[in-house]
């Protein structure tokens, strides 16, 4: 089962949101990593047939997904970034409604919705209205709706945005649980979300896939070395101006820095193994820090 993306392009006026993307996705969890505005949502919306590409093709098992229409969407589960719901519906009603528009038989839908509600921990509050749920609960309801038709392709756009750390961990575990025997594409700009669960990471920048591979492959491919060193506070500005600094920590001796540099920034600097965060910083530079919850 393969989802093949070939030279996919989409522009909005003068902005190239998706720029000649090509990739092949099979079973497994894929993490789509990029800063806000990198084109992740546009790419995912095209995968969900919500946007028509300007050029290029998306094929599922060799068939064009836009020609497949409803048959393709039967295989699809989608949790959008800006997940909308019907505020006056109870969680159960919401899931049963989504089940009906996904073409599930009522008896099966009821049974499966019950299972999913238990799996996402919403069974006890299934009669509660959607508008009364917390952000985390809504996201869990969102993942449950995406899973209703037991999709072969599960697309989750920024599923952890706005969640507190505990909810994020719970969410990651949930996705790991359901990721078996299906294609899961998970977009985020939060590195830690996919570091643990994604088998393969797609790094997206300015509408292009700049790098793909496993965490190890990505870190190994980084041409720069990671250094740990401690500097005096008055020297901090100098290092920030001249190096990419992925972490700053105050210590009793001064400020401990994590620096990305091809050459050793100072004599006392110690080489460190690179992480996905370092790769992210390397590729996105200053943009990576534009969002406070980026790493």
């Amino acid at each position: 089962m393969l989802l093949e993306v070939t030279e996919l392009t989409k522009a909005f006026r003068d902005t190239m949101a998706v720029d000649h993307i090509s990739c092949t996705l099979g079973n497994g969890v894929y993490g789509l990593l990029g800063v806000n505005g990198a084109g992740k949502t546009t790419f995912m919306r095209m995968l969900c047939t919500l946007l028509l590409p300007d050029s290029g093709a998306i094929r599922w098992e060799g068939s064009d997904i836009f020609s497949m229409g409803g048959a393709y969407r039967k295989l699809l589960g989608y949790l959008p970034q800006d997940f909308g719901y019907y505020p006056d519906f109870t969680i159960q009603d919401y899931l049963l409604y989504i089940a009906s528009i996904k073409g599930l038989r009522p008896a099966y839908a009821k049974k499966h919705a019950e299972q999913l509600l238990q799996q996402v921990g919403l069974w006890d509050i299934r009669k509660q209205k959607m508008k009364k749920l917390s952000g985390g609960m809504k996201r869990r309801a969102g993942i449950a709706q995406a899973m209703l038709n037991d999709p072969q392709i599960l697309i989750l756009d920024e599923p952890t945005a706005g969640l507190d750390p505990r909810e994020r961990i719970r969410f990651r575990n949930l996705i790991s649980e359901i990721a078996d025997k299906r294609l899961v594409l998970l977009s985020t700009h939060i590195v830690s979300d996919i570091e643990y669960i994604a088998g393969e990471i797609l790094l997206m920048k300015d509408g292009k896939l700049t790098l793909t591979g496993t965490t190890q492959e990505l870190t190994a491919s980084m041409p720069e070395q990671v250094w740990r060193c401690t500097v005096q506070r008055e020297q901090l500005d100098h290092y920030l101006q001249h190096y990419q600094v992925s972490n700053i920590r105050n210590t009793a001796d001064g400020v401990e820095l994590r620096i990305l540099s091809a050459s050793c920034p100072m004599a006392e600097a110690v080489p460190e193994p690179a992480t996905l965060e370092d790769v992210f910083l390397y590729h996105f530079g200053e943009k990576a820090g534009a969002d406070h919850d980026i790493l």
């Binding site: 946007l51 949790l79 909308g84 019907y86 009603d93 409604y97």
Partner: protein
């Protein structure tokens, strides 16, 4: 799917308030429609079911074929009552006692005022009291004569010769003498129904305005359109939900209203021609009271169906409930502003606007003729055909339009 679409509509707080308002309006309309009084022998007003029964019994005494004999008898009875000491007294209570005796023939007296009027457009409430004698044989012919005179004088430029001839023929073809009966139930039901249906069309518009736009307003459209049936059955479920909401609520409302009013006031006189009631004396359509009421109900339904369909189409096209909900308001109020433009063509157009469907009782009284297919027609059949056809087009258009939105 349809069940959940309807649930989306009525589960909103606004939806529940709208339904509550509709029930309140229904209760008020029913109350006003059956608020009929009877003046008793002491000259005091009585209200309630017993009053209705007394009035009904009084008027039923005069029920029958309204021939020369019955007309003459009613006329003489009116003279007798008007010349009674109670009627001539300066005391209001005494006058009311006289009126109490008049109630049985009151409707026939009104028809006499119409028939023996000076002109087609004039009505003198006291005419029957002033007349010393009437030639009952002229009663039905006067109706045609007054029309003919009006068409030759005041209205001579309003109609073509063919239209004039057609109107006169319609008048002449009325079966006379017709059957007269107590028709208060039908008349009051027709009188108060337009208020109810006008409010209903706005509330229905409010309810269905969100059927399509709610997906965008709640940002649920991505999940909706990405689902297997999101561009086919789920869209048609929305169309059907709108249709069912309008149909269900309208007929429940119309059914409750009609059942209550007709049960309270009585459904007597269903087979009387509309001309047997003062309000329909000039009507050129040949309909019984029962048929006219069915027409009022059908017109109301068609009006609600069309305007709600238009509301849903705007909702599907603009993705905005606010823009959509303006449709029924505009349809109800805009013609009132347009009516200030005095032009024959404008008048002909105004009578064909959908708001006329909501007040079919009044539309039956309009003298606007339309040549269609080589024949002349009044506004009523054209309204029914035109808006049935438009409604049949509107609902499939919603489906097409909303599906179109799914692809960008």
């Amino acid at each position: 799917m349809i069940f959940y679409e309807i649930k989306k509509t009525v589960s909103r707080t606004g939806g529940r308030i709208a339904l509550g308002l509709l029930l309140f309006t229904l209760a008020v309309s029913c109350f006003l429609a059956v608020r009929v009084y009877y003046v008793n022998e002491e000259g005091a007003r009585e209200y309630g079911y017993s009053a209705v029964q007394k009035l009904r019994a009084a008027q039923k005494e005069w029920a029958g074929v309204l021939d020369e004999e019955r007309l003459q008898a009613a006329f003489q009875e009116n003279i007798r009552i008007r010349h009674s000491p109670e009627a001539l007294s300066e005391d209001i209570t005494e006058n009311n006692i006289a009126f109490s005796r008049l109630q049985g023939i009151f409707e026939i007296r009104s028809l006499i005022n119409e028939s023996y009027a000076e002109g087609f457009r004039s009505y003198d409430y006291y005419l029957a009291d002033r007349l010393t004698s009437v030639n009952a044989a002229d009663f039905y012919q006067n109706r045609v004569r007054l029309l003919r005179e009006w068409l030759e004088t005041d209205a001579k430029d309003q109609f073509t010769e063919a239209e004039k001839a057609w109107l006169i023929r319609q008048y002449e073809e009325l079966d006379t003498p017709f059957f007269y009966d107590y028709v208060k139930g039908w008349r009051r039901a027709m009188e108060y129904f337009p208020t109810l249906v006008m409010l209903a069309v706005m509330i229905l518009g409010y309810l269905v305005a969100g059927i399509f736009s709610c997906e965008y307003q709640s940002k649920a459209e991505a999940v909706f359109f990405a689902s297997a049936y999101g561009r086919s059955r789920a869209v048609s479920a929305k169309v059907k939900a709108g249709l069912l909401t309008v149909t269900g609520i309208y007929w429940a409302l119309a059914g409750c209203y009609s059942a209550f009013v007709l049960a309270f006031l009585g459904a007597d006189g269903a087979s009387c021609p509309v001309q047997a009631d003062r309000g329909g004396w000039k009507c050129f359509y040949h309909l019984t009271m029962g048929q006219a009421y069915v027409l009022v109900l059908l017109g109301g339904y068609l009006g609600c169906l069309f305007l709600s369909g238009l509301t849903m189409l705007v909702s599907a096209k603009t993705r905005s409930s606010v823009a959509a909900v303006m449709v029924p308001f505009g349809a109800v109020f805009l013609p009132s502003f347009l009516s200030f433009i005095q032009h024959p063509l404008m008048n002909h157009i105004l009578v064909l606007l959908p708001n006329r469907l909501l007040d079919m009782g009044s539309t039956l009284g309009y003298f606007y003729l339309y040549p269609v297919g080589g024949q002349l027609h009044g506004a009523v059949p054209l309204l029914l055909i035109l808006y049935t056809a438009l409604s049949l087009v509107l609902y499939p258009m919603q489906y097409v339009e909303y599906r179109r939105l799914s692809k960008k």
